[in-house]
Each structure stands twice: as C-alpha cells, then as structure tokens.
C-alpha cells in the first residue's frame, strides 16, 4: 500500500469518526409551515426538543399547496431519501404511500387507535395495516344565513325551496354557492351530494359504483340547481373555496358549502358583513341517502427509509397528545381527531365554532375512496362532473364513461383483482 493511499484511508476513517461524534442525528419533520400552522408547529417542535434533549428536531418547509407538496414527497420517497422522517400527509395520500411502501407500518408501536374518530382511522389504513395517524380533521359544512333561513333545511329539496324564497324575498343574488371549479374540491362537493342520494364512488369491496342510478340523480340535481332552479350561479364552475367564502361573507349568498376554516373568518367583524347571522350544519340528505360530509384533514406518517423510526414515532405521539391538539385548535382552528376532547370545556374555549355544531358535522364524515390511485380516480371524476355541470354531457353517459375509465385504471394498477 503506498503512503498516499494509506493517508487517504486514514482520512476517510477520520471523517467517519467525526461524522459519528457530531451529536445525535437530526429528526426532520415536513409539513405546513406557514402562517398560524407554522406558529403552532414551531412551538410544539421546540417543546418536544426540550422533553427529548437527545433528539434534535428540524422543520423542513414544503409548499403549502397540497399538489406541490405531494409532488415533492413523491420525488423524495421515490429516491428513497431517509428524510424527512415524519411526514404530514393529506388524508387521501396514505393508501398511495402505503402501497408504494414509502411509509412505515405503525402497528408495531401499538398506537391507541380507539382514542381517535373511527372514520379518521379508517382512512389511514391500507390492506389491513395502519400507516398513519389522524392529526386534525376537516369536514364539508353547510353554512346558512340565519337571518334569511332560521331553520336548517331537512333535505336538499327544502334547501332549494328556501334558497329560492330568500333570493326572491330578500333580493340575495345567489341561493347556494359551492366549489365547482375543476379541481379536488369539486369531488368533495359531489361526494356530499352523492351521499345525500345514497350513492358512492367505490363500494366497500373497492369496486367502481359511480355509474349507479343514485349517482346519476345526484349529479342531475347539482346541474339542475344551476340551470333549472337557478339558485347556484354558473360562475361557481370556476370557483374554489375563497371565491365562495367572499360571496357569502359579503352577504351575496343564502347557503354556502365550505370547510370549517371559513367560520373564523366569517366571524371577524372587520371583514365580514354576516357576523352573528350565520350557522353551520351538515349538508342535508335527499331521498334515498343520508347527510354526508366529505372528510379532509391531515395525518402523520413515518418515512419507511427513516434511520430513526423510534424517535419519529415519539414525535408523532407527542404531536397527537390532547394538549397539543387543543393548542392547534386554538391557534390554527383545526379540529382535534380525539372524540373525548369534544366533551371538554377547553375545546369549547379554543374554537370559535360551537362544539356541538362541529361534532354534528364530524359524525357525518365520509372519507373519499380509500385507494392508492385516489388522485387519478379523482382526476377522471373531476373532468366528467365538470362536463355535466357545464352542459357538455348528460349525467348518465358522463358517469358511465368515468366509471369505465376508473375500472380501466384500477385494472392497470393491479388493484381490481385484489379488492374483489
């Protein structure tokens, strides 16, 4: 061995030693880190580090837009990157990441699944194992102007009638507004109408059933509220959450379908003209179905390539503790996933929304299809629904076309046989 080579080896060894003695490994967390959510997570990570001095935690900021974060996570995990160790996943991503073996099976940590809402837990399972834990939940809600409509409509037909009456008698321009642009939000609105009429996107066995008669009625109803009943303005077909919120906030709409985040903003007298004149319920049912609220929210998972899964689980366990959830509810307005908290006075203090109203909607929460190819299924549905709502296609043919494309996709993904 030449001396040059020998010193090179020695140098390598030295670097290795230095690397090891550089202190405890860094645990990275990746998720929403802007605005109020950023404040909460920064505080909680600092507190966690104080309790666990042997672990150094680092926050890795990611884009706030769900699509962009998803794309980034897919790129990192596809390259088997060992960090970030803990990932904040949108509720519909867990099956995809689990099927790809990108996130770790959490069963070996024996998480207390009974302490969480059962529907939220169900959305975190894939083929029998638990891959993530619900961090906070979002649910689709029906906001209504209590000065125009004192009592919540008991079904969708009543909603149409009440909206029409209020439009006529009080000169309110829009009866009902929801998110109708071609994006994920449209699928959640559709899911709520679908549930109201007793339909589903996939059945319990994972088969596509979105071409059912109930689905056809639900989609036909949505279209008719725009063109026949004229309670929903055609402009919603380009609207997302914020446009609907602004319309409702400025007093232009009788009913609005939106997520809980709008409640705090509508309650703010400095910008809202409807403060104290609105309430929330779940979207009402129609004939043949039940009141349905689309389930959203975030879950926490461990990167399957993480070199410190135990420390990662310790962090998840910490972030999911009741006191952390209460703090998150107070600062970011995000709903806890532990039903027990809804009986506590602390949560009533933390949230602007009355807890019983929130709980009433949460109990109707219905997850979107739990499948690894959810995003692709959603894309197919978005296009077909949007075509019907813009009168390019009739509900029946559009849904049959979508169902065929979804079945082909499941077959291509190798999921059709497994789930039958």
């Amino acid at each position: 061995m030449t001396s040059a080579l020998r010193s090179l080896v020695a140098l390598g060894a030295l670097i290795q030693v230095l690397g090891c003695s550089a202190g405890p490994a860094v645990l990275t967390f990746s998720g929403s880190s802007v605005g109020r959510e950023g404040d909460v997570i920064t505080r909680q990570l600092e507190r966690f580090a104080r309790v666990h001095p042997e672990i150094t935690v680092e926050l890795r900021p990611t884009p706030d837009a769900a699509d962009q974060r998803h794309q980034l996570f897919v790129q990192w995990l596809n390259a088997r990157a060992p960090d970030p160790d803990v990932l904040q996943l949108d509720v519909v991503w867990t099956p995809e990441f689990a099927a790809a073996r990108w996130i770790a099976d959490l069963n070996r940590f024996h998480p207390p699944t009974d302490s969480f809402f059962a529907t939220a837990i169900a959305a975190n399972r894939w083929s029998g194992a638990l891959y993530s834990l619900p961090w906070f939940i979002d649910v689709g809600m029906l906001y209504r102007r209590t000065d125009l409509v004192p009592r919540a409509p008991e079904d969708l037909q009543t909603l149409v009638r009440l909206a029409k009456d209020a439009q006529r008698e009080h000169g309110v321009p829009f009866g009902f507004v929801w998110q109708g642009a071609r994006y994920e939000g449209l699928v959640t609105v559709f899911l709520e109408h679908l549930g109201a009429f007793g339909g589903a996107i996939l059945d319990d066995a994972g088969r596509v059933v979105v071409d059912s008669a109930a689905a056809e009625r639900a989609l036909g109803f949505m279209r008719d509220t725009i063109y026949a009943d004229a309670i929903v303005p055609p402009a919603v077909l380009t609207w997302q959450e914020e446009q609907t919120r602004l319309a409702f906030e400025s007093g232009q709409a009788v009913f609005m379908r939106n997520w809980p985040y709008a409640y705090t903003l509508l309650d703010d007298t400095s910008q809202s003209r409807v403060t104290g004149r609105f309430a929330v319920t779940s979207m009402p049912p129609a004939q043949g179905g039940k009141a349905t609220a689309a389930l959203g929210g975030s879950a926490l998972a461990i990167n399957a390539f993480s070199e410190q899964p135990d420390a990662a689980y310790a962090l998840i366990d910490y972030l999911l503790r009741p006191e952390q959830m209460l703090e998150r509810a107070r600062i970011a307005g995000q709903y806890p996933t532990r039903p027990a908290l809804y009986e506590s006075a602390a949560l009533a203090d933390a949230l602007t929304i009355p807890v019983d109203q929130a709980l009433e909607v949460i109990q109707r929460a219905t997850p979107r299809p739990i499948t690894p190819v959810y995003s692709q299924l959603s894309d197919i549905l978005q296009i077909s629904i949007h075509r019907v709502l813009t009168r390019q296609q009739e509900p029946g043919p559009a849904l049959r076309e979508a169902a065929a494309a979804m079945r082909a996709l499941l077959a291509r993904a190798g999921l059709a046989a497994r789930t039958s």
Partner: protein, 296 residues
C-alpha cells in the same frame, strides 16, 4: 495536410460547444425516447419500470383525450395564425405609412409582445371573469347577456384566442413591416405612372413581394400556436371539462401532475415529431416561395 490539421483544430475547438449541445439538447431527447418505451408510473411504483416497447404509443392511438386535444390545438393554431396574419398585415401597412413620431408609435405597438405571457393571460382572465369581469360588464352595458366565459365549452375559446392574438400580432406586424420596407419603392412609382390604383398596387406588388415575410411569420406562429401552453394553463386550465385542453396541456398534466413518466414521454415524443414535421413542411414551402420571388 495543413488543411486537415486546421480541420482537426477546428473540431477540437468546437468540441466543448458540441458537447454542451449534446448534453442539454440531444441527450434529454434520446432519454425521453428511451423513457417512452417503458411503463414508468411514479404513482404506481409497485408496478416497477418494465420495458413495454411501443406499448405507450399503441395506447395513444386509442386515447380519445389526446386526439381531441390534437384536433383542438390544430384548430386553435389555424384560427389564431389567420387572425394574427390579417391583423398583423393591417398593422404593418399602417406603421409603414406613419411618418410622425414613428419610434414612439412602433414602441407602443410592440408593447403587448414584450409583456410576459403569463402576466398577459392573467389580465385577460380578470377581464373575462364572471361575474364582474370587464367584458361581461361591457356587454351588459350594450344589452347583451354574456355567457359565463370559462364555464362554456365554446365561449371559453373567445378569451383564449383574443389573448393570443393580442399578444402576438405585434410580432407578426414587425416581421411584415421588415418585409414591406424591403420592397423597392420605384415599383410603386412605375405603377403610379401606369395608372394603377392603390388596391391594384397592393394586390399586384405588395402581396406577392411580401410573400416570403408572410411565410416566415406564419411558420413561426404556427409552431408556437401548436405548442401553446401558458395562455391555456393560466386562463382555463384546459377546462371546462377538457374543452380547451391542448396537446401541451395534456402532456404537462400526464407528466408532471399524474407523474406518468413513460406515457407522458410518449406524448412528448409525438408532439415533438409533429412540430418537427410542421417545421420541415414550412421550410420546404418557404424555400420554394423564396425561390419563386427571386425569379420574379
């Protein structure tokens, strides 16, 4: 002997540049072609990355969404290029006649072209937003009920075409203006002497001699319009449904939103081949046109 040494030196000097071109242009293209022969779906990693030969291309043949996008893109290219050539010609003739404040007028005319497409598209989207957009309000003023532009499969094209024409007509006008100024003035003087009116002069002198410039402008614009992406992405996102989805939009969403790298690569290769064929065809027509005008 000396020459070959010089030749060798030349190659050696050009090598770094050629290497860079190969690295940033040829290599990615070949890689895309290779990728297009695989099933590579980042969202279904459990399927692996098997070699599927022409499988992706076979799938394209029965992909209605692609063929619809291709048809729409072609129609969009034909309509916008025709409008831009017409408007560009009028603009060029006017600019050619203007004597006073020539520099300022030309700068103003070229302005839309200098604005980044995304910014221009955003402005046009605001104009056509419903309700409350400027276009909707203006139509209401004259008693016409405007459609909900971006929720109507036909009406959605109006803002798209308008934005594209508004944005690129100055470019066409500039090319045609250069062509106009190359025409020998003495031809018009001779025509005046022969008693030909302005219309006759336009038909018999201006148009034939402007043909090469028109062909160049048409070729450039057709290639651009065929690959149109930013205007559509910003204004309609391809909607309503997929009513305004172009080939570039579909390729983008397949590749970067659905992360279907294999299939998306096949779509990219097809779009590249089509654009390349269009360019070759244009060059042939353009070459012949240039030849004929030299004979004249």
């Amino acid at each position: 002997m000396k020459e070959s040494r010089e030749e060798r030196l030349g190659w050696a000097l050009a090598f770094p540049a050629l290497g860079i071109v190969a690295l940033i242009a040829v290599f990615p293209m070949l890689w895309t072609l290779w990728e297009s022969l695989h099933l590579d779906d980042l969202r279904m990693p459990w399927l692996g990355r098997p070699f599927v030969g022409w499988g992706n291309y076979v799938e394209v043949t029965s992909d209605a969404r692609f063929w619809n996008a291709l048809g729409r893109t072609t129609l969009f290219a034909v309509v916008t290029v025709a409008l831009e050539l017409g408007a560009g010609l009028v603009l060029a003739l006017l600019l050619d006649r203007i004597v006073r404040a020539r520099g300022i007028v030309r700068t103003i005319v070229i302005l839309p072209w200098a604005i980044p497409t995304v910014v221009a598209a955003l402005v046009w989207r605001f104009i056509f937003e419903s309700p409350g957009g400027l276009a909707t309000a203006a139509l209401a003023e004259v008693g016409v009920a405007a459609p909900t532009w971006f929720a109507d499969e036909l009406a959605a094209w109006v803002p798209l075409v308008l934005a594209d024409v508004w944005k690129t007509t100055p470019f066409v006008a500039l090319l045609l203006l250069a062509g106009l100024q190359n025409i020998d003035r003495s031809l018009y003087e001779a025509a005046d002497v022969d008693g030909a009116g302005p219309w006759q002069q336009f038909i018999n002198i201006t148009l034939p001699l402007l043909k090469p410039a028109v062909l160049v402008a048409a070729l450039f614009r057709a290639l651009d319009a065929f690959r149109v992406f930013d205007v559509v992405f910003v204004m309609t996102g391809g909607g309503p449904g997929t009513a305004t989805e172009t080939v570039a939009m579909y390729t983008f969403s397949t590749l970067l939103q659905h992360l279907r790298f294999g299939y998306g690569s096949a779509l990219s290769v097809i779009a590249f081949v089509l654009a390349f064929a269009l360019a070759l065809f244009g060059l042939r027509v353009f070459g012949a046109g240039a030849l004929r005008s030299r004979d004249a």
